[in-house]
């Protein structure tokens, strides 16, 4: 299970890569692995306001449809248009080409509610036991 060091994580298996006042968000390797082959992703719209832990996207796989929650509050400034035609990118590369959206962060303090890589790895490994 891949868990890059420079990201922050939620207990619902989303990640955030924080760069200045923006964050790129997506779902973790653990999440894509449990979902199975992803077939459709409903992304947020540019300009849309997201709340921390609020609904931000829906992912459909051959097994189920699951909600994705935003790791931080903010406004959507960019979405990964590639995913519309190539949802499999999330399976292949959850942290790179399978990113979901970039948001402009409202409140950087919210970061405190997220896990760092070490904590998340422990958390996810416990779940797979």
């Amino acid at each position: 299970m891949l868990v890059p060091d420079n990201l922050f994580f939620t207990k619902d298996h989303e990640w955030a890569k924080i760069e200045g006042d923006t964050a790129t968000i997506g779902i973790t390797d653990f999440a894509q692995g449990s979902l199975g082959n992803i077939t459709f992703i409903d992304l947020p719209k540019i300009g849309q306001g997201l709340k921390q832990s609020g609904l931000c996207a829906t992912v459909e796989s051959v097994k189920a449809a699951s909600d994705v929650y935003s790791p931080l509050s903010g406004e959507v400034v960019k979405v990964n248009e590639e995913l519309a035609d190539h949802p499999e990118l999330v399976n292949k590369s959850p942290y790179e080409s399978g990113w979901f959206a970039v948001i402009k962060i409202n409140n950087l303090k919210e970061k405190d509610a997220l896990m760092d890589a070490k904590k998340y790895k422990e958390y996810a490994e416990n779940l797979s036991k």
Partner: protein, 482 residues
């Protein structure tokens, strides 16, 4: 396998129309004319008969095979019900008749069926009254949530959300959302029940209702259900009972006695009517006395002289939720089912459904992980997680079962159980059938160690082998194109 379009040959006909001997209106206005040809298949009558006979032989149904699809209650549909529904007095009656002046007298039999069905379902579930209108279970759910909303509005309290457990049927949050409520999801505790602490925290004056299935989708009856209902009521919320799992409890306990205010029933589950290709279903909704005034119109009532009529007087009604009286002939079949089995028969239905599920569970639990190792109700949830290390998943075991002549159990549901396989054998299967199924499941468990590939490649002997489900979902190809 050829599609009927591929069997088409230009100019081949299945019929011959006689020469027209009346005036033909030649110039249909252009706007009514189609722009391109209809491109219907050109085949003979025999082509059509062979094509569809062939397809029907490929059909997998309760009439041909064991069908332990969890949560769906795929019991055998007794044929006498079809006979009842084909009686001409019922099947040829025009639905407008009882609404015409003086027409009621010509529809007394059908009205009586609806009236009695209301009483019978009320008796079975402990509710005050039922509407027969909803055309399916999910439609019943939406009707039920609309009734809850109407009740709160009439009492001047606009509520915001509905509480639903994470093990719920997907239709529950969908119905709540469509009716305009937010959904709060409550996790399941280590014992497999609704986490009461999290539930208490979520419950507030903004809670419109708590939607539960009991027994739940894990096949467990929640021993704290009464406490959960009392807590909801003291917060001013109503209790909604998803009747999809009623087959486990008939004659043993009644949702109304526990404190549920709204119940929907899937007649095509518990009461043996067919699950016919997505319809027609029937999802009657029952309510406690405080919600009766909001029921859809019309309602069938009885006069003092024992005649029946359609009543439109419910002033607070939410209105019609479907044309006329619901899927009347489906209701009629379920009515016949209830009368044929009687009270004792329905109790035995539930007892045998629970016995069958526990038999499967106890014989299979050495071979598969069990979601919760305790006595289950009418269905049991196993997991293929022990087989994953050999590269075998619930999906592979399901495909293997198809080759062996069994419909797979429900897989990957409930969502909270990894590699879930949800088995609902129902009461209508013999011990011999259950034994055969169990042996094939055990065989699959053993094969997953010895020869996982045999499972990964299944099905081998079906007309279509393993489908690429991902490609099918990513690039749906649903229509024949020339």
């Amino acid at each position: 396998m050829q599609l009927i379009f591929e069997k088409s040959r230009s100019g081949r006909l299945g019929f011959r129309l006689p020469e027209s001997d009346v005036y033909v209106f030649e110039s249909l206005p252009q706007k009514y004319c189609r722009k391109e040809e209809a491109r219907l298949p050109e085949v003979s009558e025999l082509d059509v008969v062979r094509h569809f006979s062939g397809l029907s032989r490929l059909n997998f149904s309760v009439d041909t095979n064991f069908y332990p699809l969890g949560s769906c209650t795929m019991k055998y549909n007794p044929k006498f019900m079809e006979k009842a529904a084909s009686l001409e007095g019922f099947s040829l009656l025009h639905p407008l008749i009882p609404q015409l002046s003086g027409g009621g007298i010509l529809a007394q039999g059908s009205l009586e069926v609806l009236y009695h069905m209301d009483k019978l379902l009320s008796e079975i579930t402990g509710m005050a009254a039922f509407t027969m209108q909803p055309l399916a279970g999910a439609h019943g759910e939406l009707t039920g949530v609309m009734l809850i909303s109407a009740y709160h509005k009439a009492n001047g309290s606009l509520k915001k959300h509905i509480i639903i457990p994470d093990s719920s049927h997907g239709t529950n949050p969908a119905s709540a959302a469509i009716a305009g409520y937010d959904v709060i999801v409550i996790p399941t505790d280590k014992e497999g029940y609704l986490d009461v602490q999290a539930y208490k925290k979520a419950l507030s004056k903004d809670t419109a209702a708590v939607m539960l299935t009991c027994p739940d989708t894990l096949g467990l009856f929640n021993p704290k259900i009464k406490e959960i209902a009392d807590l909801a009521h003291s917060a001013g919320a109503l209790m909604y009972y998803d009747g999809a799992n009623l087959n486990a409890i008939m004659g043993k306990c009644r949702p109304g006695d526990i404190g549920f205010d709204v119940v929907h029933l899937n007649l095509h589950k518990t009461f043996g009517t067919p699950h016919g290709g997505g319809g027609p279903g029937a999802g009657p909704v029952g309510v406690s006395s405080k919600l009766v005034d909001f029921l859809p119109i019309s309602r069938v009532m009885r006069r003092d002289d024992n005649t029946y009529f359609l009543d439109y007087q419910n002033k607070k009604t939410i209105g019609y939720v479907a044309p006329f009286y619901g899927n009347f002939l489906v209701i009629l079949k379920a009515y016949a089912y209830i009368l044929a089995l009687g009270k004792e028969g329905l109790i035995e239905v539930s007892e045998n459904a629970v016995l069958s599920a526990n038999y499967c569970l106890s014989r299979l639990k050495d071979y598969f992980e069990v979601a919760f190792d305790k006595i289950c109700m009418h269905e049991c949830v196993l997991s293929a997680s022990r087989q994953v290390k050999y590269g075998v998943h619930a999906l592979d075991i399901s495909k293997y079962l198809i080759d062996k002549g069994f419909h797979p159990p429900t897989i990957y549901f409930p969502l909270i159980i990894k590699e879930a396989m949800m088995i609902e054998p129902t009461e209508t299967e013999s011990k011999e059938t259950l034994d055969k199924f169990i042996e094939v499941m055990i065989e699959a468990a053993k094969l997953s160690k010895k020869n996982p590939q045999a499972l990964n490649l299944a099905p081998e002997i079906m007309p279509i082998k393993r489908l690429d489900e991902t490609k099918a979902a990513r690039e749906p190809d649903l229509r024949w194109k020339p």
